[in-house]
Symmetry: C2
Subunit: 296 residues, 2 copies
């Protein structure tokens, strides 16, 4: 196991316990809702956003207990968005990370309330503990997550996505959509980790924000390439499920070759944003590799 893999799995393992403690306990009423909230958050995914918070927090000299809380808040928002996106009126998915989706395992009404409650919990986590020595900065952190989650952030990106079905988007329009849908929360994960510490100045924080923007966009470009190539190779189709669903992707707009070039360019730009940090940004570099140079 590489040094990065050890770092990541140690954080993933520890963070699972953090989430278990921060989510409402299953014996607390209303039990079915709390059980469904835990089902939707725990044992889920690679925790990419929390890992970005941890790496950014390390760089900023932040206390790990504070970073745990902001990482958990971001993960609650991410988890709520998956629960709502999977619902029949949105993507109508029945499986998520190999398990039945929340509305299948429980019911639609519960899934709706799970998402709503996870969003409230995120803002509770950002407000009930000390996360910055300066409470005014902590209020800015609340605002940062609210904007990243709302109609000019993640939820807005989702609305663009709905509107784009069957439409011919330009590359800038597609970029606009993904910067909101995926990018906003990835940037928030990094910035919230940074604001738990006080070692970085405004110019450095701007560099990290640009890093987050590049990584967030590359994440989506890579997704599109993998979707197209996996289907082509494994299903013998020339295009992936996004194209079948009549959704514009970087592959349908640019072709696989240009899309791959775009992700490589974004990777280089992300790395360039970290150049001023030296060895302190090692984990962020490794995370960029992990997110952009992946096979699934």
């Amino acid at each position: 196991m590489s040094d990065f893999q050890s770092w990541a799995s140690a954080h993933q393992l520890r963070f699972e316990d953090v989430l278990k403690n921060l989510l409402p306990q299953p014996e607390l009423a209303p039990r079915r809702l709390h059980s469904a909230m835990r089902y939707s958050v725990l044992e889920g995914g690679k925790r990419v956003r929390p890992l970005l918070s941890f790496a950014a927090g390390e760089l900023a000299g932040a206390d790990l207990q504070r970073v745990d809380l902001v990482a958990a808040a971001v993960e609650m928002i991410h988890a709520y968005s998956l629960v709502h996106d999977d619902m029949p009126c949105m993507d109508d998915d029945v499986l998520r990370r190999g398990k039945p989706t929340c509305h299948v395992e429980y019911d639609e009404a519960t899934a709706l309330l799970v998402g709503d409650s996870l969003q409230s919990l995120a803002f509770q986590l950002l407000s009930e503990h000390t996360l910055s020595d300066d409470p005014l900065i902590q209020l800015q952190m609340v605002k940062l997550l609210a904007v990243a989650s709302g109609s000019r952030g993640m939820a807005g990106g989702q609305a663009f996505d709905l509107d784009s079905v069957g439409k011919q988007l330009s590359v800038p329009e597609l970029e606009f959509m993904h910067i909101h849908k995926t990018g906003a929360l990835i940037r928030a994960a990094i910035l919230l980790g940074v604001h738990c510490g006080n070692r970085l100045d405004t110019a450095q924080i701007a560099k990290l924000d640009h890093f987050g923007k590049c990584v967030g966009l590359a994440f989506q470009v890579v997704d599109d390439v993998l979707d197209a190539e996996a289907d082509t190779a494994t299903l013998g189709k020339t295009a992936g499920k996004d194209a079948d669903n009549d959704k514009p992707t970087y592959v349908t707009l640019l072709g696989v070759t240009q899309a791959k070039k775009m992700s490589a360019d974004l990777h280089a730009e992300a790395m360039d944003s970290l150049s001023t940090f030296g060895a302190g940004a090692l984990r962020l570099r490794e995370l960029a590799d992990f997110i952009i140079i992946r096979k699934y």
Copy 2:
């Protein structure tokens, strides 16, 4: 028009403009989402919660501009809950305040995102402007709204409501449900108005919180009585739609006479909580009358 009616309609009129300015403008992208958010919040209802914030804020010597923002945050949460509750997987309502519900006028996916985005907007409003001279108190205000909205507040009450269909609840269980479903946000509206000012001490704030608890519960008891009596009178049925939907109500559990006595007792208890405030609590008393002694 009584002095109270003038006060209330002046605030309602002014507050409509406040909401119009705080909601994302309809020409801002994503337009359909922003249009649907405005549709779901504007021209809606009696603004009971904001009026409670205004009255409590007056008593606490709060700056009106600050109270406008907390009242708007509470109203965004209330409006999101109505949009989600009306969806087919919840109450499946097609009309709200005489207009088609959000998912009927737009579509279900948009309604889901409208609710999600309104919740984010509420927390943005509580964090992006100065609402208290002490930023630590403002962080407590964020927490207060998060808890009141989440799984141990409004959303949790809704989950209890779902679980209660077809079940025989006890009066304490029914009270527990309504204290969460309706009461939590009514109490938050009052406390957030109070925290915008600094004229009240802890004991006085506790009195106002108890006032909010009584008014919130009485609100629901009166709803149940009106539902049962309106149906009995106008539809010739002996019980209202809640009973038909097999939902436990104060009327089904206690009978109309005892339910009316309960609302009168809560009204008296609410008034009693205000006794220390003298003339300064006039508007709160009038609002208690407005909420509890109503005909529809």
